[in-house]
């Protein structure tokens, strides 16, 4: 069977969930070959094998951490040359998309970004995308070269499918542009102990209606009772109430959880662009005319400071 390259998204060998979803999708097209760049391949390999990687191509070099994007493009190109895959899959993070695009250009292939599903087709893999703020669903293909496709988190289930996962060293020689952009310093984001926003099964968000940074604990308490991630609208972020890394929407994170709970959020098109593909949508808003109610499976017209604490209490009691 044809091989499919999967670029591993990880933190020092701790494989992030979207990569395991990519392995599920890759198995629909061929045999997944994982490409692990940077430290931690030995930690990652058993996890990758458990989820279907027949092989793990590993390379480590200081360039991956010290310079932006291009060293990883050089390495992925080396893996591409070594394997001649039927497709290349990358997670749709900001960096992932940039790596994928540059690789696609180098190998003379088209690129599809932000797929939400992927199936084998007669003329190569068919990607489903959600466009125009999720108002349309498209099916697309790469029509030239080897398909390079980036896939959004939560687009496929994580499945156990044990395979060999043999680690092989990948030899990479960096090109002249690899060291063009120096990463002068890197400050890892402090962990909140909550699930990652894009990977979470449940997201609880607050908007302008939360009315102050001090009030966000109401949103966080509900999130914690459900084991959820916390999101925010741009209005709440711009006001300085919550960090930008938690913004949901067109210029924030695009999330697709099983359950999205919007509190004090009106539902502007740019916000919807980031959450409309959520499976179940719930909203609390005191304005019955708020556009968010057009999207909901269940909505409560009311004051979030009454409704949300009551809900949190009820969830805690039921789980208790």
């Amino acid at each position: 069977m044809a091989e499919v390259l999967v670029l591993v998204d990880h933190v020092d060998g701790a494989v992030r969930k979207p990569t395991l979803e990519l392995l599920t999708l890759a198995r629909r097209i061929g045999d997944p070959v994982a490409v692990h760049l940077g430290a931690g391949a030995d930690t990652a390999a058993p996890v990758l094998a458990e989820h279907g990687a027949v092989k793990v191509l590993a390379a480590d070099a200081p360039e991956f951490a010290d310079y932006l994007v291009v060293p990883k493009v050089d390495a992925l190109k080396a893996a591409y040359d070594a394997v001649s895959p039927a497709a290349v899959l990358v997670a749709s993070s900001a960096e992932g998309k940039e790596i994928a695009a540059r690789l696609a250009l180098r190998i003379g292939s088209g690129i599809i970004t932000d797929a939400v599903d992927l199936e084998a087709g007669d003329n190569g893999p068919v990607a489903t995308q959600s466009v125009f703020a999720a108002a349309f669903t498209t099916k697309s293909r790469v029509s030239q070269g080897t398909p390079v496709i980036t896939v959004k988190p939560n687009s496929a289930p994580v499945e156990s499918a044990p395979a060999a996962g043999t680690v092989e060293q990948l030899t990479v020689s960096f090109g002249g542009t690899a060291t063009g952009t120096k990463v002068v310093s890197r400050t890892p984001r402090e962990s909140t102990g909550r699930p990652d926003l894009t990977e979470a099964a449940i997201v609880v968000s607050g908007g302008r209606g939360v009315n102050g940074a001090d009030n966000f604990h109401v949103i966080e308490a509900l999130a914690d009772s459900l084991g959820a991630a916390v999101g925010a609208s741009r209005a709440a972020v711009d006001a300085g109430w919550y960090p930008h890394s938690n913004q949901v929407g067109q210029t924030g994170k695009q999330v697709s959880p099983q359950l999205y709970i919007a509190n004090g959020i009106s539902g502007a098109i740019q916000h919807r662009a980031g959450m409309q593909t959520s499976k179940t949508i719930v909203a609390v808003n005191k304005d019955a005319e708020a556009p968010i109610f057009d999207l909901v499976d269940y909505g409560v017209v009311g004051d979030l400071f009454q409704v949300v604490p009551q809900l949190t209490e009820e969830v805690t009691a039921r789980k208790g």
């Binding site: 932006l68 540059r102 669903t137 029509s143 662009a273 269940y298 009454q306 809900l311 009820e314």
Partner: protein
Amino acid sequence: MSLRIVVCVKYVPDATGDRHFAEDLTTDRDAVDGLLSELDEYAVEQALQISEASDDAEITVVTVGPEEANKDGLRKALSMGADKGVHVVDDALHGSDVMGTSLVLAKAVEHVGYDLVVCGMASTDGTMGVLPALLAERLGVPQVTLLSEVAVADGQVTGRRDGDTATERLAASLPAVVSVTDQSGEARYPSFKGIMAAKKKPVEELQLSDLGIEADLVGLGGAWTAVDSADARPARTAGTIVKDEGEGGKQLAAFLAERKFI
């Protein structure tokens, strides 16, 4: 020597309008009014600030797009304060994908001459956000992308990138391609004086042949991707909406329990 800044701006259908696909499955540009992509206003703003901080700089705004992209797109950037415009307009461009667009932009940017190319973080219609990286790849210069802060000094561009897992400080030598996010700082409104001045600023119109690009490398025919179908997302079945009479939280909990979330 003068710092040559080129800003890439896109003319897009208004996101708050009812956007559609045309019959050939390209973006229907007739159904909805177009405008300068809001996210590219941030790029123009940062270019203006970099220019203001340098002794001698010139800003050229470049767009690849239909006829209206000049009056309704480029002019806005010029009225904000950019010095001149370049509009690549050619019937053969209809339906280009990001590979075609990046090819044309790379040639256009080279045609203008540049030390710094500034892009927005993503276009509000295509939303791929990969064009700046592709431009850097094509031009063979560093990419310093998705910056929430940017500065130029001593032939270097530096900036801050707020990534998924970390905040990074980046540095590269000019020439370089940067892109800036909507966290980089509010874009200014054009002043009346700026709007009047923009009417007199030069806009060079270029066709593909002026850039030495073969028509079959771009457009729908030259695209390396194909859209097979585009379907309106089925309207969500109307949900249950209740008014809180003191039990709203409990009712919501019951719904979540019924759906097995608790």
